[in-house]
């Protein structure tokens, strides 16, 4: 009954090439057609690297060492560079964190957007209209003027809207969003979230949303993967994870969110300690050192993901169990 996933990442391992240091370990997740999946984790937990490996754009000196990434049945890791280039932008697009430097400063906006079409389908009579339609869809007020403007003439929020238009231009099947709202004001952040959400539903597009902010993804995605020290420690539907977090780390993350319902003026709880480096975890649970439930077993063994119903958790002593 389960549909064929659009993207299926299996046992992905990423490591530095020289002096091997594991950065991402044994990561597996699926994205079904039309589904929005969130990846939550702290800086350095491997969430961005996992996303970049899908596009084959890992930074120099970092490489995939194990696993496979199936997109529409094709293994992206074994495709030729030219085949992968065709998929980028066309079928998988990405929006970035910082919109301020994301537009070419010496190219007019209209031309820049047309470049996306030119590099894949080739320009034709309708290209210009396509660009205009998308710009107005993402809420650019004066499209004709915007087409003739340069990047510095737009605010950060406007630039992020333009970036979204650029990513959506060729109607990709999968949109990867790497913390696209981090650099924006909270009010603008809400507008961008709504914009992406609407555009996604309209196109029945799949989405991978990477963030460190649980609050951002709550209303945006269907499923969540929580990453810690290069591994997925918990995954499940958003409702499940918010109501009944099983991994102590997820529970810690949730309890450190500010709430609007609390009546007491209590301090926000935080998880003590600093996140472990993925390559120093070795044969233990990465979270063991900061975990209140940790026992000796947690320091000597890697907890494997246990599948239960629709969710998985990698913990020997998950919450909600005896």
């Amino acid at each position: 009954m389960t549909p064929q996933p659009l993207l299926s990442v299996t046992n992905l391992g990423i490591s530095t090439v020289q002096d091997p240091r594991t950065l991402v370990n044994n990561v597996s997740f699926d994205i079904n057609p039309g589904e929005a999946v969130g990846v939550v984790g702290e800086s350095g937990s491997g969430k961005t690297l996992s996303a970049l490996s899908i596009l084959g754009l890992l930074p120099r000196g970092v490489g995939v060492v194990s696993g496979e990434i199936l997109f529409n049945g094709k293994n992206l890791l074994t495709l030729k560079p030219e085949e992968l280039r065709q998929i980028r932008g066309n079928e998988i697009a990405m929006i970035y964190q910082d919109p301020m430097t994301a537009l070419n400063p010496v190219m007019k906006l209209g031309k820049q957007l047309l470049e996306v079409i030119a590099s894949h389908d080739g320009i034709n009579g309708q290209s210009d209209d396509r660009v205009r339609a998308l710009l107005s869809e993402v809420g650019i007020p004066d499209v004709n003027r915007a087409m003739e403007s340069y990047a510095h003439e737009f605010s950060g929020g406007m630039r992020q809207r333009i970036m979204i238009a650029m990513a959506l231009l060729l109607s990709p099947k999968l949109l990867i969003a790497d913390e696209p709202t981090t650099a924006l004001d909270v009010t603008i952040q809400q507008q961008i979230l709504a914009l992406v959400s609407d555009a996604r539903k309209k196109r029945d597009m799949s989405m991978l949303w990477i963030t460190h902010d649980l609050g951002v993804v709550a209303n945006l995605v269907n499923r969540l993967n929580v990453m810690y020290a290069g591994r997925i420690v918990e995954s499940g539907t958003v409702e499940e994870i918010f109501r009944r977090p099983k991994h102590p780390y997820t529970a810690g993350l949730l309890s450190s969110l500010p709430t609007s319902t609390g009546t007491n003026r209590e301090r926000l709880t935080s998880i003590s300690g600093v996140p472990e480096k993925p390559w120093l975890v070795g044969n233990s649970c990465g979270f063991a050192a900061r975990c209140s439930r940790a026992q000796s077993r947690c320091h000597n063994e890697i907890p494997l993901s246990v599948v239960k119903d629709d969710s998985t958790v990698a913990c020997f002593f998950p919450l909600g169990s005896k």
Binding site: L55, L57, R60, R85, Q86, I87, R88, G89, N90, A93, M94, Y96, D98, T101, A102, L103, N104, P105, V106, M107, E115, V116, A118, S119, H120, S149, E153, M163, M166, A167
Partner: protein
């Protein structure tokens, strides 16, 4: 901030605001017109024609810049010499800019061993004084104008490699280049349409400055007897031939030297003006 007037102010507007740029452009323009006149034969006399009756005449209504020891018209020869200097320099700098910018951008973008190779080779070229290297190349190639142009072009290629490579290293790390790759642009398209325009400004300035150096190098080579051969006129050669005559026929030395000076100063001023016009940080209101 964003009104129409502001937008209309392009690079040309800023260029015209720089006094040195305008003066330089006028000087260079005069020299170019002079050179074009000589192409179409608009010179008072044939530059190699010898007027035996009028050897070493001073400037007069007949011979504006006087005549040399063979009775040839110095004015016609100076014009012809300017044309040759400009032809050689423009050819040389076009060659150097094309080669240097291509290799420089590619080296900066590709990096790794290719960058190492290109950078090391250009370091080796830099180690030689320009005139010495050009001399060696001309000596082994020959004395036609295109040999001189090739020699000067090769000598100035490393400068363009450096000027192009540096900014590419910065620009290729910018998010908009990363996004171009994320959106599946081909490397060629990224280089041509997204990186090149961003490193264009310093290259244009370098072209103007290199042209002036190339003219000096060409004159230097001819002066040393390795460029243009007699009786064909060349500014450097004329200065060389005028040397023993300078004491009693100053006009044979002064006019070609003056033309070299004017065109070199003019090109340098143009370079300054371009730099000011293309660098937003230096724009004076």
């Amino acid at each position: 901030m964003r009104n129409k007037e502001e937008k209309a102010k392009g690079a040309l507007h800023y260029y015209l605001q720089s006094t040195s740029g305008v003066v330089g452009a006028v000087l260079v323009l005069i020299m170019v017109i002079v050179a074009i006149c000589s192409i179409f034969g608009f010179t008072p006399y044939d530059p190699v024609e010898q007027h035996i009756e009028d050897i070493l005449q001073g400037p007069s209504a007949h011979f504006w810049f006087g005549t040399d020891e063979f009775g040839r018209d110095v004015f016609s020869r100076t014009l012809e010499g300017m044309r040759r200097s400009l032809t050689v320099s423009i050819t040389a700098v076009s060659l150097a800019a094309t080669l240097g910018v291509s290799f420089g951008i590619l080296a900066g973008y590709v990096g790794k061993w290719f960058d190492q190779l290109v950078t090391r080779v250009s370091d080796v070229f830099f180690a030689f004084p320009a005139i010495l290297l050009a001399l060696a190349i001309v000596a082994s190639l020959g004395n036609d104008w295109y040999d001189t142009a090739l020699a000067i072009g090769v000598v100035y290629t490393p400068i363009f490699i450096r000027v192009a490579r540096g900014p590419v290293l910065t620009v290729k790390e910018m998010d908009y280049i990363k996004i171009s790759r994320v959106l599946g642009f081909s490397s060629f398209r990224i280089l041509r349409k997204h990186i090149f325009p961003n490193v264009f400004a310093p290259i244009v300035v370098q072209v103007a400055l290199s042209l002036s150096w190339a003219i000096l190098t060409e004159s230097g080579l001819s002066f040393l007897g390795l460029g243009t051969q007699p009786p064909t006129p060349s500014l450097g050669l004329m200065v060389s031939e005028a040397q023993p005559l300078a004491a009693f026929a100053w006009w044979t030395l002064v006019f070609p030297s003056l033309f070299i000076t004017i065109v070199v100063v003019g090109l340098n001023l143009v370079g300054d003006g371009l730099r000011d016009a293309l660098d937003p940080a230096r724009r004076s209101s």
